[in-house]
C-alpha cells in the first residue's frame, strides 16, 4: 500500500517518462518527415546517403580504419609516458632543476598552441627532409611523433592538474614519515593523481583516435584518406559518411564510458 506521497511521486515520474517518450518520437518524426521535403533533399541523399556506395566501400574503409587503430595503439602509451614525464618536470621544486621546470612549461605552451595538423605537416615532412634514410624517414614514425608531442602536452597538463589536486597535507604526511620526495611522488601523490584524471585522459584519447586521421596528410592511407579516394572515384560523399559511422562505433561507447567514470567519481567525492 503506497502512502499518498509515494503515490504522488510515482504519478509524477510516470508522467515525465511518458512526456519524454512522446516528445522524442515527435522530434524524430519531425526530422524524418520534414527533411525530405527540403528541395535539395534528393540531391543530398544521392551524394551523402547512397546505400549502394555505402555498402561497396564500407569493408575497405573498415580495413583502413585498422591502420588508425594501430597508430592509436602505439601512440597512446607513449603519450601517457611522455605526458607524465613532462608533468613531473613541471612539478620539480629544487632550484637546481629549474631548467627542467622551464622546459616543461615551454613544451606544454608551445605544443598546445599549434594546430595538430600543422605539427603533423612540419614534423612529418620537415624532419625526414633533413636527409634521413629509410626506414627512419617514414611518415608513420614522424607523423606518430607529431601526435605524441602534441597530445603529451595536453596529457601533461591533465596529469599536472591531477597532481595539484592531491592535497598538500598528503605530501606533508608522507614527508613527515621520512619518505623521500621521489617516493612521496611515486607512492602517495601519483597513484591518487592518476586515478583522478582517468576520465579527463579518456576524453583526450578519444580525441586522439579521431586526430590519427590527420596522418593521412603526409601519406598513410587510413580511413579518412581511403574515404577521400572513394569520394573522388565516385564523385560522392557517402564514403565520408561511412567513415564517420566507423569512428562513431568506437568513439560513442568510449565517450559514454568516460562520462560514466566521470560522474561516478563525482558521486564518490561528494
Amino acid at each position: 500500500m503506497l502512502t499518498i506521497r509515494q503515490a504522488h511521486a510515482k504519478r509524477v515520474k510516470q508522467r515525465s517518462i511518458t512526456i519524454a517518450v512522446i516528445s522524442t518520437i515527435a522530434a524524430i518524426a519531425l526530422v524524418y518527415f520534414l527533411v525530405p521535403l527540403a528541395p535539395g533533399w534528393p540531391a543530398v541523399k544521392k551524394s551523402f546517403f547512397n546505400a549502394e556506395i555505402f555498402i561497396k566501400t564500407f569493408p575497405t574503409l573498415l580495413d583502413a580504419f585498422m591502420l588508425d587503430v594501430m597508430i592509436f595503439l602505439w601512440c597512446a602509451p607513449l603519450i601517457a609516458i611522455l605526458g607524465l614525464i613532462i608533468a613531473l618536470c613541471r612539478d620539480v621544486r629544487s632550484p637546481a632543476l629549474y631548467p627542467l621546470r622551464l622546459f616543461g612549461a615551454i613544451y606544454t605552451d608551445v605544443l598546445r598552441g599549434i594546430p595538430v595538423v600543422l605539427i603533423v605537416y612540419l614534423i612529418g615532412f620537415g624532419v625526414p627532409g633533413l636527409g634521413l634514410s629509410r626506414p627512419w624517414n617514414s611518415p608513420y614514425i614522424w607523423g606518430s611523433l607529431a601526435l605524441i608531442l602534441t597530445y603529451s602536452a595536453y596529457v601533461a597538463e591533465i596529469f599536472r592538474s591531477g597532481i595539484e589536486s592531491v592535497h598538500s597535507s598528503q605530501r606533508a604526511a608522507a614527508e613527515s614519515l621520512g619518505l623521500s620526495p621521489s617516493d612521496t611522488m611515486r607512492f602517495v601523490v601519483l597513484p591518487q593523481a592518476i586515478r583522478r584524471v582517468v576520465p579527463a585522459n579518456m576524453n583526450m584519447f578519444i580525441a586522439l583516435q579521431k586526430d590519427v586521421a590527420l596522418l593521412s596528410f603526409i601519406g598513410p592511407v587510413e580511413v579518412l584518406r581511403q574515404a577521400g579516394v572513394y569520394k573522388s572515384l565516385y564523385a560522392n560523399f557517402t564514403p565520408y559518411v561511412a567513415a564517420a559511422v566507423i569512428f562513431l562505433i568506437i568513439t560513442i561507447p568510449a565517450t559514454r564510458f568516460a562520462d560514466h567514470l566521470m560522474s561516478k567519481q563525482q558521486r564518490e567525492r561528494s
Binding site: 597535507s169 604526511a173 608522507a174 614519515l177
Partner: protein, 242 residues
C-alpha cells in the same frame, strides 16, 4: 632516552611572525601539552620540530644534537620524530596495513614479510587487528586517527608530535584516541601535543605551555597553569575554553 630542546626559535611567514623566541625542553618520557588560541602558532611550532617548516633562527636539539642545521638530511631526522595531524591524512588508495608499511619499507629497506609481524603487533596493541585490511574510507574517524598513530609509530620514532588529533573527531570518538595517547604515555613515549582537550592535559601532562602570539607566555605543571594562572591572557583563554 630522548630529549628535545628548543632554544630561541624564530619563524615568520613573510611579514608575519609566528614564533618569536620560543624556548622549550621536553625530557625523556615526558608529555608536554601546548595550549593556546587558534592561530597562536602551535601547529607551526610542531611542524618546525620535525623540519616540515624551516626555522629562521634558533636551535632544535635532539639528544643534544642540533637537527636544524642546514645541510643535514631532513628525511633522516623526520624518521626519528613522528607527527600525527588533525586531519589523519591517511593515504586513501592504500589499506591500513599498506599505509603503515610504506615508510618502513621504503626508508628502512625492509620487505613486507619481514615487517609484517611487528606491524601486526602494533595494530593489536591499539585494538585494530581486525581493521588492517580496510581502506581509510571504510574506517571511522577515530579508527583512522589510530591508524595514523600506528603509521607514525611504525618508524620507531624517538619523539612523537600530535597536532590537535582529536579536533576533527565526533565527540563520541575522542575517547578512543585519547586512550591511545594514555597508553603511549604509560609506555614511556616522549610526546608533544597541541590540544584543546583541557581535562586531558590536566590529567596527564607533565608540563603545559600556554602559547600566545608566537610566544610561550606561561608554562608549568598542569595544576599551576589550570588552577592558578599568573598571566591575565592565560586566565582569559582558560575562561573561554573551560
Amino acid at each position: 632516552m630522548s630529549k628535545l630542546e628548543l632554544i630561541n626559535i624564530h619563524k615568520s611567514f613573510g611579514e608575519r611572525k609566528v614564533c618569536s623566541g620560543i624556548n622549550l625542553t621536553v625530557n625523556d618520557g615526558e608529555m608536554v601539552c601546548l595550549i593556546g588560541a587558534s592561530g597562536s602558532g602551535k601547529s607551526t611550532l610542531l611542524r618546525c620540530m620535525n623540519l616540515l617548516e624551516e626555522i629562521d633562527e634558533g636551535e632544535i636539539l635532539l639528544n643534544g644534537e642540533d637537527i636544524s642545521l642546514p645541510g643535514l638530511d631532513p628525511q633522516q631526522i623526520r624518521q626519528q620524530i613522528g607527527i600525527v595531524f588533525q586531519s589523519y591524512n591517511l593515504f586513501p588508495h592504500m589499506n591500513a596495513l599498506e599505509n603503515v608499511m610504506l615508510a618502513p619499507r621504503r626508508t628502512h629497506k625492509r620487505s613486507k614479510d619481514e615487517l609484517r609481524p611487528e606491524i601486526e603487533e602494533l595494530f593489536k596493541r591499539f585494538g585494530l587487528a581486525d581493521r588492517m585490511l580496510n581502506y581509510p574510507d571504510q574506517l571511522s574517524g577515530g579508527q583512522q586517527q589510530r591508524v595514523a598513530v600506528i603509521r607514525a609509530l611504525a618508524m620507531k620514532p624517538k619523539i612523537m608530535l600530535f597536532d590537535e588529533i582529536t579536533s576533527a573527531l565526533d565527540p563520541e570518538l575522542v575517547a578512543e584516541v585519547l586512550d591511545v595517547l594514555r597508553q603511549l604515555h604509560r609506555e614511556g613515549m616522549t610526546m608533544v601535543l597541541a590540544t584543546h582537550e583541557m581535562s586531558f592535559a590536566k590529567e596527564l601532562a607533565d608540563k603545559v605551555c600556554f602559547l600566545d602570539a608566537g610566544e610561550i607566555l606561561e608554562e608549568g605543571p598542569p595544576e599551576a597553569i589550570f588552577s592558578n594562572p599568573k598571566q591575565t591572557r592565560t586566565q582569559a583563554f582558560l575562561k573561554s575554553v573551560l
